[in-house]
């Protein structure tokens, strides 16, 4: 049983009956089954409100959406993301289950986009997390790419993130230029994610279909792919809290590069948009979210060879939860060493 049971326990059988907007053209009146007792007041969705309830709905409509429903929906979203994260195992994850969970996440995200709450959440999460730390880590990243960089050195304050950085550094060295933005055809433009999803869907090993540019050593590709598998599963559409920074740009290079090589890449690409000004008033929307279960998830993901950073995990690791970060760093150390070793080979030769 998942730990997040405690969070969802209160809710959400109500969600079983929720009607979801399947297309923007659908009229809001269909949202509630006939005869069902309305459990919350929702003036913005009255049949009286004419015309289209789609993306044109102004933010005020989102705010009037029942907080109960949106919290329930949010917890379903969280639950789904955690499920995708924990998909990695010694055995290949069940593809059918992963696809169904991913589709559920998409549904929620679509509905939230139409409600306008998606953007609010994106903004609030982006604002809630300080991007400064990430920028520092990026600088460390740049240092590591120097030839003769000491093996095994990782930015101590952010060991989990450090692995990612070291990982990205290879990509920067090998791939070179910044790739052009790639858009996901199936996902909302408000997505922001720093990694991609291969794990639950991509069964073909990346380097099976690797083009013969010989950039990557096999070992490294395998390493990458494992990490990708972990990261991607959770980083699907929902990574709204990633802050825009150079690190993200490096992520994108990393993304695009691997997207060429692995047809199993399944996930999102980062779309740059300017960081919105922080709005503390909206943070109360997420005040109910219990950060402790994100910690557990970080610990769990840290037990694997690579950090499977959920969208919220990353936030946690950047904040002051040191013990959690350390526990995951231990297992990442060996991988980091291996990567550095490979880096040395490439750079040194």
């Amino acid at each position: 049983m998942f730990v997040c049971g405690s969070i969802c326990g209160a809710a959400v059988d109500f969600l079983s009956h929720r009607v979801c907007l399947s297309s923007p053209s659908q009229q809001r009146p269909n949202m509630f089954p006939k005869g069902t007792k309305r459990k919350f007041s929702d003036p913005a969705e009255e049949p009286a409100s004419s015309g289209d309830p789609g993306p044109a709905a102004p933010p005020p409509a989102a705010r009037t959406l029942s907080s109960s429903y949106s919290l329930q929906r949010q917890s379903l979203l969280d639950m789904s993301l955690i499920k995708l994260q924990l998909c990695h195992m010694l055995v290949e994850p069940n593809l059918c289950r992963s696809v169904l969970i991913a589709n559920t996440v998409r549904q929620i995200q679509e509905e939230m986009t139409q409600d306008g709450t998606w953007q609010i959440m994106t903004q609030a999460l982006a604002a809630a997390q300080c991007p400064a730390d990430r920028l520092v880590a990026t600088e460390v990243l740049c240092r590591q790419t120097e030839p003769g960089a000491q093996a095994g050195q990782s930015p101590k304050p952010f060991p989990v993130v450090g692995l990612e950085e070291g990982y990205h550094s290879e990509e920067v060295v090998m791939e070179g230029e910044v790739e052009t933005e790639v858009t996901m055809s199936t996902l909302s433009p408000q997505l922001s994610s720093s990694s991609y999803l291969a794990g639950p869907f991509g069964m073909d090993p990346c380097w099976d279909e690797e083009d013969e540019d010989g950039d990557c050593e096999e070992e490294e590709e395998e390493e990458e792919e494992e990490e990708e598998e972990e990261e991607e599963e959770d980083e699907e559409e929902e990574d709204s809290e990633e802050c825009m920074s150079e690190a993200d740009e490096a992520d994108r290079d990393h993304l695009s590069a691997d997207s060429r090589t692995g047809e199993q890449v399944f996930g999102t690409f980062e779309i740059k948009h300017p960081t919105p000004p922080p709005d503390p008033a909206l943070e109360e929307l997420f005040s109910d979210v219990d950060p402790s279960y994100y910690d557990l998830d970080t610990v769990l993901t840290g037990m694997q060879s690579t950090p499977k950073m959920g969208p919220y995990d990353l936030l946690e690791s950047l904040s002051s939860h040191a013990p959690t970060a350390l526990s995951s760093s231990a297992s990442c150390r060996s991988d980091l060493n291996e990567l550095d070793h490979i880096m040395e080979i490439i750079v040194g030769s």
Partner: protein, 444 residues
């Protein structure tokens, strides 16, 4: 007649009694009768296959049809490690399918996630004695000591059942195999994984034809997977496959080499008033089975079983609710992953009844003619030898009657995913986690 007795009878007044309860070391993952019903094969999570054989009726107990006893046990699949992906390949047997019997030996196909094997099960009850060049214990005799020749004689011995792998069909599936199905031509069979379906010839192991491929060029666009596939029982060119979106496609292999374009597309339009975030998940089809007649097919989704007429694509002809009381619990079931459980379903020999499993070790039978249904339980407590199964009921309203079970007390760890119905008689096999139950109707 009281309500209790009336509801206990389905299809010719069947009353089911316990014949056999068998405990397995591992979770049973598949159950399948052979074409005659004489043999019953089970596969488990440890890669083992256990075959039961129907014993003839004994004169002592004429009221029973005879019991099923263990006939053969063998290790079909071993755990493997995929070095390319650094992942384990489970040895769990996903499916067993028998081949029609053509000689004294029996053949079956068993598959795990990646490899299909053809096993030959043969009996040996005689052995040759009196070899010239060997002693009875097998030692080679000194040829110079042989002064006369004799003809070896076949002597009876204790029955020995041997299983040997005759063919291994490997390396054809990138994704996890969920179905195998023997074609009516008895020469070919299909195997389906999440994204592809391959057609094999039983004699040829190094090649297979890919007949369905739904893998998108860009895996990011993957939204649908294949969940089950089956060959038509009479038309060797026809097969169906179901998807995670609740659709079934019927394909004709004469139309094209790659059957990505279906001949028929079966989908029931969604009821917009019951739409929820879980609608797609519960519409995902976990099993598809043709009727013996070949005119109908049955699909199992999370909450219901549907019978389709192959000539009507826009909706099923019959829908049976298996456990509709779970509809209000979908979020909890999503949380504990039960919503992803893959239940199977099966027809009886005459296609007049269907059976499928549920939770709390319950399984359900539906009589298509009378529209009656019954819930039975496969548990140790209610399965004393030759005990008659009592019908069970789940109380959905506020008031719980005596002997009823409330939805909240259901044990979701006790799930019956695999059931099988004898092709001719009213004998059923029900797998409940580690236990195999065989029930027969009482001949009175």
């Amino acid at each position: 007649k009281s309500e209790g007795i009336k509801s206990n009878k389905i299809t010719n007044n069947m009353i089911f009694a316990v014949t056999r309860v068998c405990f397995s070391a591992d979770i049973i993952s598949t159950v399948e009768f052979n074409y005659s019903g004489e043999l019953l094969a089970t596969g488990d999570k440890g890669g083992r296959v256990v075959i039961f054989q129907h014993e003839q009726e004994s004169k002592n107990r004429p009221h029973l049809r005879g019991e099923y006893n263990v006939y053969s046990t063998f290790q079909s699949h071993e755990p493997e490690f995929d070095y390319l992906k650094s992942l384990e390949i489970e040895e769990k047997i996903n499916k067993i399918r028998w081949l029609p019997q053509q000689n004294a030996a029996h053949f079956l196909l068993s598959t795990n996630d990646k490899t299909i094997k053809l096993w030959k099960i043969s009996e040996r009850d005689k052995r040759a004695e009196g070899y010239n060049l060997k002693d009875e214990d097998g030692r080679v005799r000194d040829p110079f000591r042989i002064t006369s020749l004799r003809v070896p004689v076949l002597m009876p011995m204790d029955l020995m059942v041997e299983a040997s792998p005759r063919r291994i069909f490997a390396n054809a599936h990138t994704y996890h195999i969920n179905s195998i199905s023997v074609n009516s031509d008895h020469e070919t069979y299909l195997s389906a994984d999440d994204l592809r379906i391959n057609l094999w010839h039983l004699e040829i192991t190094d090649r297979s034809f890919n007949i369905v491929d739904i893998k998108p060029a860009n895996m990011e666009e993957l939204t649908e997977v294949i969940t089950a596939a089956e060959c038509h029982p009479h038309q060797c060119n026809v097969f169906v496959y179901s998807s995670s979106k609740g659709t079934i496609r019927l394909c004709d292999m004469r139309e094209a080499a790659l059957c990505d374009r279906h001949s028929k597309f079966f989908e029931e339009p969604e009821d917009p008033s019951s739409r929820s975030f879980f609608s797609e998940i519960i519409s995902s089809i976990s099993d598809v089975k043709f009727s013996h007649s070949g005119r109908y097919m049955m699909t199992r989704d999370y909450l219901s079983v549907k019978v389709w007429d192959l000539n009507m694509e826009n909706r099923p002809v019959e829908t049976y609710q298996v456990h509709e009381y779970l509809r209000s619990k979908l979020c909890s079931l999503y949380e504990n992953d039960c919503i992803f459980d893959k239940f199977e379903c099966c027809w009886n020999g005459s296609d007049s009844a269907i059976m499928t499993g549920s939770y709390n070790n319950f399984f359900r039978m539906f009589d298509r003619n009378t529209r009656r249904d019954i819930t039975l339980e496969a548990s140790r407590e209610s399965s004393k030898p030759r005990a008659t199964l009592k019908p069970r009921k789940v109380s959905t309203g506020g008031k719980r009657k005596k002997d009823e079970i409330s939805v909240d007390s259901l044990d979701f760890n006790k799930k019956i995913l695999h059931t099988a119905w004898h092709p001719k008689d009213n004998v059923i096999a029900v797998a409940a986690t580690n236990n195999l139950y065989i029930f027969q109707d009482k001949i009175n």
